[in-house]
Symmetry: D2
Subunit: 370 residues, 4 copies
Amino acid sequence: MTAHQDDSMLGRARVADSPELTAYYGELADLEAGALWTVANKIEPWYPQPLSVPVLWRYAELRPLVRKALDLVKADDAGRRVVMLVNPGRRDVSAAAGLLYTGLQIMGPGESMTAHRHQAAALRFVHEGTGAWTIVDGEKLSVGPGDFAITPNGTWHEHGNEGEDEPVIWQDGLDIPLVNALDAGFYEVHPDLYQQPRPIRNESVLAYGANLLPYGADKWTRPYSPLLAWPWEPTYQALRNLAKTTEGSPYDGVIMEYTNPVTGGSVMPTMGAHMQLLLPGQATKAHRHTGSVVYTVAKGRGASVIAGQRFEWTKGDIFCVPSWAWHEHANLDASDDACLFSFNDFPVMRSLGFHREEAYPDNDGHQPTG
Amino acid sequence: MTAHQDDSMLGRARVADSPELTAYYGELADLEAGALWTVANKIEPWYPQPLSVPVLWRYAELRPLVRKALDLVKADDAGRRVVMLVNPGRRDVSAAAGLLYTGLQIMGPGESMTAHRHQAAALRFVHEGTGAWTIVDGEKLSVGPGDFAITPNGTWHEHGNEGEDEPVIWQDGLDIPLVNALDAGFYEVHPDLYQQPRPIRNESVLAYGANLLPYGADKWTRPYSPLLAWPWEPTYQALRNLAKTTEGSPYDGVIMEYTNPVTGGSVMPTMGAHMQLLLPGQATKAHRHTGSVVYTVAKGRGASVIAGQRFEWTKGDIFCVPSWAWHEHANLDASDDACLFSFNDFPVMRSLGFHREEAYPDNDGHQPTG
Amino acid sequence: MTAHQDDSMLGRARVADSPELTAYYGELADLEAGALWTVANKIEPWYPQPLSVPVLWRYAELRPLVRKALDLVKADDAGRRVVMLVNPGRRDVSAAAGLLYTGLQIMGPGESMTAHRHQAAALRFVHEGTGAWTIVDGEKLSVGPGDFAITPNGTWHEHGNEGEDEPVIWQDGLDIPLVNALDAGFYEVHPDLYQQPRPIRNESVLAYGANLLPYGADKWTRPYSPLLAWPWEPTYQALRNLAKTTEGSPYDGVIMEYTNPVTGGSVMPTMGAHMQLLLPGQATKAHRHTGSVVYTVAKGRGASVIAGQRFEWTKGDIFCVPSWAWHEHANLDASDDACLFSFNDFPVMRSLGFHREEAYPDNDGHQPTG
Amino acid sequence: MTAHQDDSMLGRARVADSPELTAYYGELADLEAGALWTVANKIEPWYPQPLSVPVLWRYAELRPLVRKALDLVKADDAGRRVVMLVNPGRRDVSAAAGLLYTGLQIMGPGESMTAHRHQAAALRFVHEGTGAWTIVDGEKLSVGPGDFAITPNGTWHEHGNEGEDEPVIWQDGLDIPLVNALDAGFYEVHPDLYQQPRPIRNESVLAYGANLLPYGADKWTRPYSPLLAWPWEPTYQALRNLAKTTEGSPYDGVIMEYTNPVTGGSVMPTMGAHMQLLLPGQATKAHRHTGSVVYTVAKGRGASVIAGQRFEWTKGDIFCVPSWAWHEHANLDASDDACLFSFNDFPVMRSLGFHREEAYPDNDGHQPTG
């Protein structure tokens, strides 16, 4: 709050309590009404007041508990065997940050889940294991570590692990809290419990994996990407190529967005996703923006300062940046790249006209930390 | 919940409690984590489970309390002197339905408010009084009973009543709860406290009030309508004209949307507004859709059945339809039109791909009302 | 051509003829080939070199000949009884300017035409007569002097005059030369020769004539306006209202575009239309732009300077401005408004990225007319 | 012309000549007017009547003449040393088909051209030579055989060959005839005659060459692709991948469009481009559509039937399909792929609402070839 942001100033609500008003408030409550001035300053804050706080979840700590779930619950009973990451400020809605949900799902060798669909959109980022597959509206996709895949809203989907030895652990990202906040959630179990996939695996990757559009793309009218998966290798290669031309954003380094190839827009209408590369030793400047972000360390080690708090991270760790929190990232390795995968609600911010962004003005762009 | 919507079926979470699991949940909580299956069925419901309930607020009951506020609080202390209508299920966020806020604002003769702006978008529907004015980004607008006006997100605005005898009561509609749910709220008091309006009143109505676009309209790039007000008379006339060609929607009768003339879209990116006309004796069929609606009776008298509950209404009354609630409307007057003004969050539903709608399948489209 | 636009400079084709080259050109011609440098400077001019020239057609001169057609040819033999206005530079394609066609159509009392449809888009501006009607895809429209109406590409249409005494003369505007230049013309005679119109006349005017959108407008997906006619009176009133707020464009005065209400764009994808008002004595400054325009004097009298040539006009006169020609307009009446209707190919220019515009830089914006 | 397409039927112009009419036509001509019915059937044809005819240009025949130009004219005198391919029906506008221009440009070892820009859009497809480069708005691109590159409208560009031994021959495609038909042509020689390229070559390929969008792509607002070149190898690989999932279009086989990655649309607003693969022995069915196409054989050998005329082709050959001409393609090699590069005016057809397409209805989709 700056000098110009004072709740006692003219233009803000500053009505003192009185017995008369107390009685009046009671009369209003009897009619399912209230006096705006009793809540105005709270519901019209000077700037965003997220309930979410910055959190870092260490993969090394989470992993044993995730693996333990394999023994504790059957997949068929759990629906999906997922350890969700819950922001201390958003326990009421099971969100990791803002209205975004995330969790780590584990599937044992040979295991598979039943098919369902829901209004909520989902995305996956694979942490470990080589046998993972997912079927999305009849397309069977194989995904491995570092791969990104989507399950757009309303698509039938089911998952499994066809590996023989190792479990798969992948991270789910969903907009469930957003869907619920807007009273828009629907859920269906597949009438046959399982889909019959088409014969060719990864067909959307074969058709849309390059920078050309296949025959029929002009007939695609759904509000999400027909391309359903982005393997790690070409994604990392794209970042390396981009790094030859630019140092990238001052706040994010060399960053690319996974996009819907038929529109150039975000992969789904409610969530976007990026992969970013920090060169050895690179440290970005701080900025803040509306919209919440969940980050996953895809490669390397580094540190991020979020709202003045420093978090060191290494591969597999997950952390979040709440809306309007200052944040900056650094690669702590002097010789190797660091890569951060992230997903966000930026498409919502842009669609609704809520996007705002500003650079940290002081100290050459870096927040003081303690 | 239908036969196919049973939480004990394969595909839903159905893990029984055990001491082992209880211990496990504690370990997870220590890491700011949790087991998805403990909340999955709740956060992924079969269909929307709004916290909002249908409510009708009677103008005859509210009006005395609204007028009382004139004596109880000074406008300069209240910020704005508003009695807000609060859904019993959304008291935590001061919403009338879903993530929509509404309230009745009163301004005494000669009174005026200070100027501010905020991320939240606002709209006005005038109930009574002839001296109301508002200044929106320098355009001074005079508005009277039945008129609809907007204060798009981020525009400087201030209001007043230049009448000499009577107070003005108008209804505000805002997306404050939505803005807060998305951690995107900003607020500023005008540095000069008051705007200097341009000399011509209602200039956007003069420029954009017909079905042609003025010079310069192709340069308008803001995400909301450059036309800021829609007076009652031509709006009612438009409905009467439309009624000559159609009985309108089976669910809404002869209904028109206030639109942004440069795009044909909704007036603002987060809220839409309609005026609808029910012919004497007309009764619509029931449907339901995602998205919340706040209705105000602009003319006549009638009844609506919402989620099986019947509400009789007359001019000035306000009622709400929560997301996915069945609803149908009837004009109870045999000889005069009834008109309902309404505002909604449909633009959000459409932008995010959340729009869904269905007709009431039984009983010739009418809900039983017990 | 400025000092920097010299065909003898490096960067332009400047190959001298030689016997060797002449022989070479013959060899190329044998293979249906040629040497670019022999035509390069012609086909890549420094700036547009329209074949069209400025022309003014006087209604007083045309009218007797148009009326004469009534006696000379039967409507059923002519298809439509139209005197077309042909630019001396575009006789090969029957264009009035650029790739725009215009003509004056006359229909005797009680006469009607057969129905057809074509790829070309058409528009009408009524000069005289009170009994004119047109049926467009089943909607019967009555149109009178000063009214503007459209027949979008691909719509079935037929016309007639239900007056008892006077012929109707209206002006047609079509994009026939454009359609032919792009080899895209189709034509069909209605299988029943005549349409059966729906019972309500002017239904699109009743539904879309105000600045609100009727029920169902969100389902309109055709590339043209669902509103098919704009009567004179409200159009003129809209200009008068706009004139209270602005002097309008320095080049066009108080000008409004007829628009597609569901998009805010031009009424059809290949032609746009405007009505403009020049206040008593008002004289605009000169500018030029890509795109061709055909003007019709709807009210009053004045003069336009086009490419340095002065044309005086009065009600009913038609004149054209070729692409990239300087032009400016003046109302020569000291006490009454002058109004110019116009149609153009600006939508084509904008869709293809060809729009360019500049102000006349000298002499306070006015061309010398020597 | 079918049974229903008879110029003597009611609904078509069928006015017989008479001395009276001849005199009348003279009177009209004196006023720069004419009678529509004298040209109506010609300018409103039943279906498109292109002046262009199907043509195949054999690379083996053209190549010697193209190489001869190297000796006959200096690049600096020619502007660009190009043998253009001229449709016998469009000699007046130097078009290869419809309003599309194409030519073969040759640059000797070490040669370079001066920089210019123009309203016309250009594209390149490299036939032979390894040293070709082009600078487009400061980006230097190296291009080799099979590569596709664009020079969008209004971009500064210059070309050269840095090879030491061999000339480069590439094919230019431009929309010059379209630009001229619309009176929209502008041309400028670069004030410094040569651009200073930025240090990194092929930077747009590095930044946009994958299926992700780099930092800053959301700020790209120009109406064409920021990606300027598509090398042959990944393009061919993309077709091979796509061929694993589909036989492609019945009319085109496995076909992909080069697209603007930030919109998913065509690479430029006036021209689109495709690469298509015909499997060994594959023969497509015939269809026809509005819009003109120029094909270049990128790989293999085959035959196309165009408007009933059969053309055998091999690598390097160029042929055209006029608007609305039936066409089908066949790979005549039993063991190797054939690839056709093509460019077209489809973006114009779509923008203006002129796109129409139909399948050949008889003989299992194949044209008789007499």
